[in-house]
């Protein structure tokens, strides 16, 4: 009974491997190359022909003139070849301390602005590479960036809104601001 099944087992394994392991990914790669070239290679953002990042991958920002992104639990932060969340449970002492420190850092960077900090600015993202923050998180930082860069808050808000992706069909997901794109635009602004 077993011997009769050896040939179909071996040959079906080889053929299905060729179909699903070789033909399938190659044909998807072909479709991707023809129709979605940039997306299929990591959605890189080019500046003067050099990659300065990917549209979908966050970068570390801690200088006060830049918009800050989600805290990252990878090591070092925003390590795009080793993604990870913090995996802290809700009562972990180190987690609560980290949240407190992040909130303090935000307030210290802008002492005149002491409103409650939006939760996404002090909690680590799932991947450690989240490219986006909430609108609340972005608006929270406008006064600091405006003061340091010496440009008007309205101008910064416009840049933020320009780089906001809304809900899909107005229904699915959450509106989110792309931090890297905002910062690239901020660097382009002439005073």
């Amino acid at each position: 009974m077993i011997r009769e099944q050896i040939r179909p087992a071996l040959f079906s394994f080889v053929l299905l491997t060729l179909i699903t392991g070789v033909l399938y990914p190659l044909s998807v790669t072909g479709i991707a190359k023809v129709f979605f070239r940039n997306q299929s290679e990591g959605s890189l953002i080019l500046k003067n022909g050099k990659a300065v990042g990917s549209e979908h991958i966050g970068q570390p920002f801690d200088a006060p003139q830049y918009l800050w992104g989600r805290p990252s639990a990878t090591s070092p932060a925003f390590n795009a070849s080793s993604s990870s969340g913090s995996n802290y449970g809700p009562m972990h002492a180190d987690y609560l301390k980290a949240v407190g420190d992040r909130a303090k850092a935000l307030k210290d960077a802008d002492p005149s602005h002491q409103a409650h900090v939006p939760v996404d600015l002090v909690t680590a993202s799932g991947s450690g590479l989240d490219p986006q923050i909430s609108l609340a998180g972005a608006y929270y930082q406008v006064s600091r960036i405006a003061r340091i860069r010496g440009i008007s808050e309205d101008k910064i808000k416009k840049i933020i809104e320009k780089n906001t992706q809304g809900r899909f069909l107005g229904l699915l997901g959450e509106p989110a601001v792309n931090v890297l794109k905002v910062n690239l635009d901020l660097d382009e602004v002439k005073k």
Binding site: S12, H56, I57, S83, Y88, V119, T123, A124, S125, G128
Partner: protein
């Protein structure tokens, strides 16, 4: 919960249930060679049968032969996946120069992918070559799912045939479910995903120079690459500048598409579908979330179609949905409410037009709360196990929901094929108990349910909880088990319970703080996954063989109807009762105590 939370949950359930019927009927027809699609691909199909020495005209197998074919194919899969990982350093398509994977990790991963669990002890983008991802894991994503669908259709034949030994041919079921179901759906899904920004390339990972170079603490290592410790025993660090970012890419989209459709769940990246390149946008998220439950739910309609009573299929699908929806609500409500400890610190967790609020630790901005909780509930209801948020960082009740959905035995939609045949085991128990209550011989779809079927169904229902509870008990006393727990105290216990609930039900998701890539966990979790898959598949095939031999009893006034609301609630009751009684003590030690502690702070 906000209005938008309700709207997103509603859209998800509505689209899922609307697609179940057409896809279900298509699958039912294509598996028996009755669909128009069968004619289009007939040459390819016939060629495969010819090479494999399968003659479709006289290919019928009895249940034992079917089980042997199923096991032979799976054993071969385990062996090949193990070998490829051990040899990936000398195999082609390894542009990032990944080393061979360790023996214990390869053992675990081989079983994990062959059993459709896709538990990941390793970090994908930093461990595996493109070759391993495609040829070893990508192939198992298809064939482990196809094996599950094959077994389900053999079981369905057991119900509809009479006085025969035969329940179909494993090789034909395997080939048809791959060619006609999984492959076309995957190509559509992969294309949609690439359009959203999921990579699909064989080039090495590109480098980007950072807009703002940042300083960070780099661990100091000695010549052997081991961390140097300071006087206090902490790893020494030095300041270093970070100026560039290596963006890991690869043939991602093709693998992600099938990992969701085949209820596999093993991601390309370590962070799984939370990674913005696996799941870049709300639209990609919806496509992935839908494809993880779609086939499993639609198979209920295939079942109804094949037994020529669509009400029977809907009854099972409704029973599953009745369990799913309230748990989805609990999870979403709990996460949206957020963490009381953060509220005390003056962190703004309210849901407004500008932010999703809630417990955002381990969640991505573009998904917020509700897209993360729908996913968490769906991925554990179905035995998928991919994640788009880190379950370890959920609130206690938010984390209890995914854990308990797995502990119910992966029958709420469940794995492709395996979910429905698991539910059919519960149905057998339900009609048996129901029959005892009214004093009639229990029957289901005209087949008498006797002690043999009951014994086999009981084995199927008992094995996963035994593995989960025993495994947890061993791990929390064994040194190798305790040493790798990440979160202290109660939450650490939850991490271990979650790991064993996940692997013993072939789910694959994790409270990922648990350090699972070591000899202890790789071995014990590998064993759990093995038995959870095969010790369920073989008894259900035995049931199929036994049922096929029986006559079909005509419906009489004494027949317990199995499509009525009464029976649906009875079935739900049996599933909940078994799941609740078995796991309540363990859950009480983990998430329930944690919830009470957190509420009291």
């Amino acid at each position: 919960m906000s209005t938008n939370d309700y709207i997103q949950c509603f859209i998800y359930m509505a689209v899922l249930l609307l697609l179940a019927k057409p896809l279900g009927i298509y699958m039912a027809r294509v598996m028996e060679g009755e669909s128009r699609a069968n004619r289009w691909f007939k040459p390819a199909e016939s060629f495969i049968y010819k090479v494999c020495g399968v003659n479709p005209a006289r290919a019928e197998m009895n249940w034992k032969t079917y089980a042997v074919a199923f096991m032979a194919f799976n054993a071969l899969g385990i062996f090949v996946v193990y070998a490829i990982q051990r040899l990936q350093n000398i195999l082609p398509l390894n542009p990032m120069g990944m080393a061979a994977v360790s023996a214990d990790s390869s053992f675990n991963t081989a079983i994990s992918f062959a059993t459709n669990t896709n538990w990941q002890g390793y970090g994908g983008e930093s461990t595996l070559s493109y070759f391993t991802q495609m040829i070893a894991l990508g192939v198992q994503n298809f064939v482990s799912a196809a094996s599950g669908i094959a077994v389900l259709f053999a079981v369905i034949r057991g119900f509809i045939r009479k006085q025969t030994e035969n329940i179909g041919n494993f090789w034909m079921d395997l080939v048809r479910s791959t060619l006609y179901i999984l492959l076309p759906l995957s190509i559509v899904s992969a294309t949609l995903l690439v359009s959203q920004g999921v990579p699909q390339t064989f080039k090495p990972s590109p480098k980007a120079s950072l807009v703002q170079p940042t300083s960070y603490d780099q661990p100091v290592t000695d010549k052997d690459g081991k961390p140097v410790l300071d006087e206090k025993g902490q790893p020494k660090t030095q300041k270093a500048m970070l100026t560039e970012q290596v963006i890991a890419v690869g043939p991602v989209a093709s693998q992600i598409a099938i990992k969701q459709l085949g209820t596999n769940g093993g991601g390309y990246y370590n962070a799984n579908s939370a990674h913005p390149l696996e799941n870049p946008t709300p639209f990609s998220n919806f496509v992935e979330m839908l494809s993880l439950t779609l086939i499993a739910a639609a198979l209920c309609c295939s079942f109804g179609y094949r037994v020529k009573d669509t009400r029977q299929g809907w009854a099972l699908l409704i029973a599953m949905t009745i369990i799913f929806v309230p748990l989805l609500w609990v999870c979403t409500h709990s996460e949206q409410t957020g963490n009381p400890l953060l509220a005390k610190m003056g962190i703004d967790q309210s849901a407004t037009a500008l932010q999703p609020g809630g417990n955002m630790e381990g969640k991505e901005t573009r998904f917020g709360i509700v897209s993360s909780t729908i996913w968490a509930s769906a991925t554990t209801a179905v035995s998928n196990g991919s994640v788009n948020s880190m379950h370890d960082s959920f609130t206690p009740l938010g984390g209890l929901v995914p854990m308990w959905l797995m502990e119910l035995g992966e029958v709420v939609y469940g794995g492709v094929g395996s979910g429905l045949y698991g539910m059919l085991a519960f149905v057998i128990v339900a009609v048996f108990v129901g029959g005892l209550m009214v004093g009639r011989t229990p029957e289901y779809l005209g087949k008498k349910i006797e002690s043999y079927e009951m014994k086999m169904a009981s084995i199927m229902i008992l094995i996963p909880p035994i593995l989960a509870v025993l495994g947890t008990a061993i791990a929390v006393v064994a040194p190798g088990g305790k040493a790798n727990i990440f979160n202290p105290g109660i939450h650490g216990f939850s991490e271990v319970l979650y790991a064993f609930s996940s692997t013993s039900n072939n789910n694959g998701s994790a409270f990922a703080g648990l350090g699972a890539n070591n000899i202890f966990y790789n071995t014990i979790l590998g064993i759990c996954m093995f038995f959870a898959r095969y010790w369920l598949a073989i008894p259900i095939l035995a049931i199929a063989g036994s049922l096929a031999k029986k006559k079909i009893v005509p419906v009489s006034s004494g027949t317990l109807p199995t499509h009525t609301p009464l029976f649906i609630f009875f079935l739900v009751g049996i599933v909940i009762l078994v799941g609740a009684l078995t796991f309540f003590p363990a859950l009480a030690l983990g998430p329930i105590v944690e919830h009470l502690t957190l509420a009291a702070v």
